[in-house]
Symmetry: C2
Subunit: 331 residues, 2 copies
């Protein structure tokens, strides 16, 4: 059987209450009994039962991280950021995903908010609506949404508009006038913000916006890029540059297809991606892209949530991080 406070108490000739106090470093314990208790605890190799502790303190010391799906390198990188600055073992992270599960997102949120399994929630997602999220506020479960500005909850996100403007400005500066834009339907707000940045950049450079140059792809993968290339060519073969807010994998797909068709990148066609994933450096030419600070987002998220859980109102409700334009070879 597992060793409990009571076991220690008996051998030390004290009460379990006393043992509890020394284990938790409470004041007003004589040095003598503290030493004795600690010694016995060590000998018995005592570890507190976190479940029992959780019940007593109404705190689970763990936070839930809800992700759309682990196949996204963006999500994984943010998760990595969360884990690596995880204030060392103070909080355990429990992982939940929202795709392919029996229960719907709202059901999951509701359950998490009420089961008292976690002390707070980090939500990495771009598609969930604000209404679905209010449950956390209603149940007063501390929560942070990552990757998307959120009116209802605190959030950490990137300046999508600015990043897109940087990219488009750069292409224009390079002399491009017919610039296509490829968005992704599975991303909600971020994609529209990026599209907006693209438009703003055109506008301030007095280039007319043409709706037919905006293309949409379903998922951020290479396949999509392969297919969309042809469509772009069909619509306007004079397109000399493509900005791909949909993500780097789509951009990579476009590059591959372009090369295959004998279109030289970047000479005949310039490509700029969004995100900066590892594969951006393996494609040739290497992908010029807008880097999102993913580790940093995770870092902010975990720090903000812990502050909230522990009642330190850091004051920051929303944290906007800046993108970084990474110039490589594809544009």
């Amino acid at each position: 059987m597992a060793v409990t406070l009571k076991d220690i108490a008996e051998r030390a000739g004290v009460t379990s209450a006393t043992v509890s106090m020394v284990i938790n470093n409470k004041p007003n314990i004589s040095e003598a009994t503290r030493k004795k208790v600690l010694k016995i605890a060590g000998e018995l190799n005592y570890y507190p039962n976190v479940i029992a502790r959780g019940l007593a303190t109404r705190k689970s010391n763990s936070i839930g991280v809800i992700v759309p799906n682990l196949a996204s390198s963006f999500v994984v990188r943010v998760l990595q950021g969360i884990k690596s600055t995880n204030r060392d073992i103070e909080y355990t992270v429990q992982l939940f995903d929202t795709v392919g599960q029996k229960e719907s997102e709202s059901q999951l949120f509701q359950r998490l908010a009420r089961e008292r399994r976690i002390d707070g929630v980090i939500l990495i997602s771009s598609t969930v609506t604000d209404e679905e999220l209010v449950i956390f506020r209603e149940e007063s479960v501390p929560s942070i949404v990552v990757a998307r500005k959120c009116e209802e909850l605190d959030s950490v996100y990137v300046n999508n508009e600015g990043g897109a403007m940087d990219a488009t400005d750069y292409l224009i500066k390079k002399g491009h006038r017919t610039i296509a834009c490829v968005t992704c339907s599975k991303q909600g707000l971020p994609t529209s913000e990026r599209l907006n940045g693209y438009k703003l950049s055109l506008k301030r450079n007095t280039i007319p916006f043409r709706q037919e140059l905006v293309f949409e792809v379903e998922d951020d993968n290479m396949e999509s890029g392969l297919h969309i290339f042809e469509k772009i060519r069909e619509v306007d073969s004079s397109v000399s540059a493509i900005f791909v807010p949909a993500g780097d994998m789509v951009a990579i797909g476009i590059i591959k297809e372009a090369k295959k068709r004998g279109v030289k990148v970047p000479q005949d066609l310039a490509i700029v991606g969004f995100d900066d994933i590892p594969a951006a450096e393996v494609i040739e030419p290497e992908l010029t892209t807008v880097r999102q600070p993913k580790l940093e987002m995770g870092d902010y998220a975990i720090n903000m949530i812990v502050d909230k859980i522990e009642g330190r109102e850091s004051g920051v409700k929303h944290k906007e991080l800046q993108t970084q334009f990474i110039i490589r070879e594809s544009a």
Copy 2:
């Protein structure tokens, strides 16, 4: 305040014990009270407090997944496999990593084994020694190690030797006689098994093994590949093929460096990787490699651990999965 069994009991005019029984679908409850209780529970939007339940049942309904580090795409893919066949919400996964933490691996294992936080453990790692792992058996915590054959605990892993033999055989069949091999020091058993497969293949094809053609790299990343290329050339410029058990990123690095130096792949130099990561399809020429069934490993791991936790002795103690040789363009 959260609604509890007691709240429901009061309104239903029964005792919390009764409510508990209907919530848990126990028999011997009159249809009348069952209906009434369920109705009230629904109205009050009741969710059981999992912590309290855990204390009473001595079961947390969650499993711990210990990973070396989230930067590895191999690890992430296995994790994805675990999550996606996670028997729908029955068990929650808690994530632990072993790098960059205050506590050592053994400390973490000890803690997890004793804190009663989890019902079982999946360990994805290649470097941990068997001795460090026995703690789980000692504490009778169900556990599975993934990616490495383990004497002390149940495990699921791939046939590294066979995969390496496939790769080497293929290169030999293509006429190569001077084949270098690049291993990775951070991987323990798997790397040596692969090296062994390479040796066996040489042997049965009556090609002498040359120790100086075995190179070692620290990490599975592109940088390492970039650097090792030159070293290989220095040792023997007649090397016409390189088998890279260290991993696909290293293989990709080698390809990049080769192209940069004007060495044509696969004409002048054939490259075969190990793992099959997404980037294997973005490099040009696309990487020929030995695919590890990562999702499947995760799938087996979660199923085995759940069976063990629930006392179903599936009989399988060790599951060996087969690799698949993926022929693309680099060899």
